[in-house]
């Protein structure tokens, strides 16, 4: 009997089919291609610098959640994947790739917490992303994550949203918004607007009210804004996480070309963490931009600006006890921890912080492509985030504010799995509830 929590057996048809097709020659060729033609000097530096001290282990929520099972330590995940591939020069059997794919796609969310605990600051997530890249080129990617990438490749959004569905949904949400606030329009294709607002595909697909929320916020704040009526409205990028960098680049290219076509000064993006990473870091850099070519403002930063400047005033604070999930890509990655607390503090009467928090907060274990690996891997994902359940329970909150789509869904899963009796909300859901709407604007 295992000393540690045990995953349920998982069948993932895409991984199984991919492995069945592999040959050792193909693996060797692909590994050599990635290591010699795609990776930069930093890969070698990281591999040479690591002293195998294992200090990264205590940083990892999956290691901690699984009773410190050493197999889940970041250093072990690298040892069992990239080190193996490098040492053997890619001469490994297909079944080894299966285990490597599981580690790279399911057991590490590339959240980068471990890099803060590494004495040398090695970007372990980059090493794992390199394994994902190899798996992508070998055609061994979890089924649902690959399907999300396929959606990006076809529709340039992550949920197979057709162009007509996008426009129709935006116009429907505009119809809803003007029943609450007069002239709460969602201007499509307005060239020269100050702001292009971009979202991720779950918003038109399953959470359309979030677009309505933004229509209300923009109207009350008096922002000159627009949204595209063309592809390029989706700022998300799961291709980044499946290792399909060509599709990642195509998605980001269109997103930024759309912003430029509309001649906006800046892009404000909805409450999503990975999308920020894709749109501002990984995507632009693959395309040779040093940074996003148009200023990108995350929703947290935008709400902070609106409240701080008085463009949005709080009429009555939200009373139920709340806590906050710090999204890895916007708090650890971008340092928005203080701003998000300012926003929460302005909106909410009863706030209890998680411990640890800010950049030290644990990942939701849904980002990094994990939740996109789909139902087959959910049980494993839940076992790997017991520490999040413990963190949440200790706050006594009824609501966990999650300014990130992956956090939102992932923490709702944790709440359900560990029966915590709470729920998640986006900032915008609370903000529209408690912001002051001038009488003259009320419909």
């Amino acid at each position: 009997m295992s000393l540690y929590p045990v995953n349920k057996p998982v069948t993932d048809v895409a991984i199984d089919t991919g492995i069945a097709r592999l040959t050792t020659e193909q693996i060797e060729r692909t590994v050599q291609r990635v290591l010699t033609k795609e990776c930069s000097a930093r890969l070698q530096v990281f591999l040479d610098t690591c002293v195998h001290c294992g200090l990264c282990a205590e940083a990892c929520h999956s290691y901690l959640s699984r009773d410190k099972d050493p197999r889940y330590a970041p250093v072990a995940k690298v040892k069992d994947t990239l080190w193996e591939l490098v040492e053997r020069k890619g001469r490994v059997e297909p079944e080894s790739i299966r285990r490597m794919a599981e580690i790279a796609f399911v057991e590490c969310g590339v959240c980068r917490r471990c890099s803060m605990y590494c004495p040398f600051g090695i970007d372990i997530a980059y090493l794992i992303m390199t394994v994902r890249r190899i798996c992508n080129l070998l055609g061994v990617v979890p089924q649902y994550l690959q399907d999300t990438t396929n959606s990006h490749a076809v529709t340039l959004n992550q949920m197979w949203v057709h162009e007509d569905e996008w426009i129709d949904t935006v116009q429907w949400q505009e119809d809803e918004a003007i029943t609450e606030v007069t002239a709460a329009r969602i201007p499509l294709e307005k060239e020269g607007a100050d702001v292009m607002y971009s979202v991720i595909a779950p918003e038109p697909k399953i959470l359309a009210q979030l677009i309505n929320n933004m229509a209300l916020i923009m109207r009350v704040a008096g922002i000159d804004w627009t949204m595209p009526a063309t592809d390029g409205w989706d700022n998300s990028n799961m291709a980044m996480y499946s290792g399909d960098f060509e599709v990642m680049g195509r998605v980001e290219k269109l997103h930024w070309e759309t912003a430029q076509r509309l001649k906006v000064k800046r892009v404000v993006m909805g409450e999503c963490g990975h999308a920020f990473r894709g749109a501002v870091y990984d995507g632009p850099r693959w395309l040779a931009w040093r940074q996003a070519p148009v200023t990108m403002v995350h929703a947290i930063d935008f709400y902070y600006e609106l409240i701080k400047s008085g463009r949005i005033k709080i009429k009555q604070k939200y009373e139920p006890p709340v806590t906050l999930q710090d999204p890895c890509n916007t708090v650890r990655g971008m340092g928005l921890g203080k701003k998000v607390r300012y926003v929460v503090g302005a909106m909410c009467e009863n706030f209890a912080d998680m411990q640890p928090n800010y950049e030290h907060n644990y990942c939701c274990n849904a980002g990094g492509g994990l939740i996109n690996c789909g139902p087959p891997w959910k049980h494993s994902r839940m076992l790997s985030n017991r520490v999040k359940a413990e963190q949440l329970a200790a706050t006594g909150a009824e609501i966990c504010i999650t300014p990130c789509h992956n956090c939102h869904s992932g923490i709702e899963d944790v709440i359900g799995f560990y029966d915590l009796g709470m729920h998640t909300k986006f900032i915008s859901e609370i903000l529209v509830e408690c912001m002051e709407i001038p009488e003259a604007m009320k419909a």
């Binding site: 048809v13 895409a14 089919t17 033609k37 795609e38 992508n136 080129l137 055609g139 990617v141 089924q143 649902y144 690959q146 399907d147 396929n150 490749a153 076809v154 529709t155 197979w160 057709h162 162009e163 007509d164 426009i167 129709d168 116009q171 002239a183 329009r185 201007p187 499509l188 294709e189 307005k190 020269g192 009526a229 063309t230 592809d231 399909d244 060509e246 680049g249 195509r250 290219k253 430029q260 001649k263 000064k265 850099r285 395309l287 040779a288 931009w289 040093r290 940074q291 070519p293 148009v294 200023t295 789909g374």
Partner: protein, 421 residues
């Protein structure tokens, strides 16, 4: 004669619409735009009953709609918009709707002569292109990127030709996409196909295709190039016909290929938006000479000056000797001509407009929320509440301005000599 040869090029100002009055007259004023010749000014308005219509030089269309949006003028001055009543969508042109209605209509485009209109349509949950209201005989599960031939007679689009089952990775990589022209599809199927284009004759079509996880190339009339690349971007045809030119990624760097063969020895961190000169003798493209350094390469020779954030598609200046592009550096926009950036910078610039047969470059720019006309780097005239992209007279000696000043829409023709002082 060019299309604007018969416009009124007499110097002078014509106030044609009272924008401030429109704002008072209607519950909402949602969009406004002038015709290319500046003689008509259209506004998309919402009445007190919540219904929408268009108002042109103060006259409203006879019909109102539950929704009307995306008003656009053709080069010939036709005004079209997407209109919906009772959940049925159609295209309204100068106040009259197509006879045909659809579940949805979007992305309308005027044909090159400005007389016809193409659009994507959805009917019974199937998709097609419609030309002047007539959808293709064959509809598809999904239709995405489309293009219209120069004569406006035909349209081609990327189409999904196999049913997509949920999360069917195997099926997807077997190829579910192709291209259809007038509804008739190519035999070939691809994993992906993007952004088809017609050549000048309308007889040939090229598109980017993906044939394996990381294998990309160009398909021309259904036949793929012999060589595969790590990635490709939007191709173009030589203006004189023949070769198809596309940016291609090889060994991690970008260059240009023609009909599958690399034609530029230079290798770049990025390359896209290649453009030919009118005579087809010169070829320019936006390139990144290094990570984060952007410029224009002309016949594979990059400008010496590079920019940090963005360079837009190169424009060959009217005399054919110079090339201009909008450039962004340190979060400020300007224009570079032959690699030399103007001294002035702006919050935003629009695409450079060049003097026919001459060397002047004129640009709409924005600074501090006001709009300016800038010629050769110098602001000419006042700044405006609104300014639409300007146009040179065919002889290059006058400029047509379409502006909103003090709440009035004004059409103004100004001699170039006067602007340049």
């Amino acid at each position: 004669m060019s299309r604007n040869g018969n416009w009124d090029w007499t110097p002078g100002r014509k106030p044609l619409a009272d924008v401030a009055g429109l704002r008072q007259q209607y519950r909402e004023l949602l969009e406004m735009l002038p015709s290319p010749d500046g003689e008509r000014f259209a506004a998309l308005v919402v009445g007190e009953d919540g219904r929408m219509t268009a108002v042109v030089n103060g006259e409203s269309w006879p019909e109102t709609y539950e929704r009307l949006w995306y008003l656009r003028f053709s080069a010939q001055g036709k005004l079209a918009g997407l209109a919906m009543n009772d959940y049925a969508w159609t295209v309204a042109v100068d106040g009259r709707t197509w006879d045909e209605t659809f579940e949805f209509v979007w992305d309308p485009r005027f044909t090159a002569d400005g007389l016809g209109i193409a659009a994507l349509i959805k009917q019974d949950n199937r998709y097609a292109v419609a030309l002047n209201g007539q959808p293709w005989p064959q509809l598809y599960d999904m239709v995405r990127d489309y293009c219209v031939s120069g004569d406006g007679e035909r349209a081609a689009a990327t189409v999904q030709v196999e049913p997509r089952k949920e999360a069917d990775v195997e099926g997807f990589f077997a190829g579910t996409w192709s291209l259809a022209e007038q509804g008739e599809r190519w035999d070939e199927k691809f994993i992906n196909i993007w952004e088809p284009i017609y050549d000048a004759t309308g007889r040939h079509i090229a598109a980017q295709v993906r044939t394996d996880i990381a294998d990309y190339t160009i398909a021309v009339d259904g036949k793929v190039w012999d060589r595969l690349f790590g990635c490709v971007w939007r191709p173009c045809f030589r203006p004189d016909g023949g070769a198809v030119i596309a940016p291609v990624r090889t060994d991690g760097n970008w260059t240009l290929a023609a009909d599958g063969e690399v034609i530029w020895p230079g290798r770049y961190a990025q390359l896209w938006q290649q453009r030919f000169s009118a005579d087809g003798q010169r070829l320019a493209a936006v390139v990144a000479t290094d990570f984060g350094r952007w410029t224009v390469a002309v016949d594979d020779r990059p400008w010496r000056r590079t920019f940090g954030e963005m360079v837009t598609a190169p424009t060959f200046v009217g005399d054919g000797k110079h090339i201009a592009a909008a450039v962004k550096d340190h979060d400020r926009w300007s224009i570079a001509v032959d690699g030399e950036a103007w001294d002035n910078d702006f919050d935003m610039v629009w695409e450079p407009v060049t003097q026919p047969g001459g060397s002047h470059v004129a640009v709409k720019a924005e600074r501090g929320g006001r709009y300016l006309l800038v010629i050769d780097g110098r602001q000419v005239g006042p700044d405006y509440e609104m300014l639409w992209p300007h146009c040179f007279a065919p002889d290059g000696q006058s400029v047509l301005l379409r502006t909103v000043q003090d709440g009035k829409y004004v059409r103004e023709v100004v001699p170039l000599a006067q602007l340049l002082g």
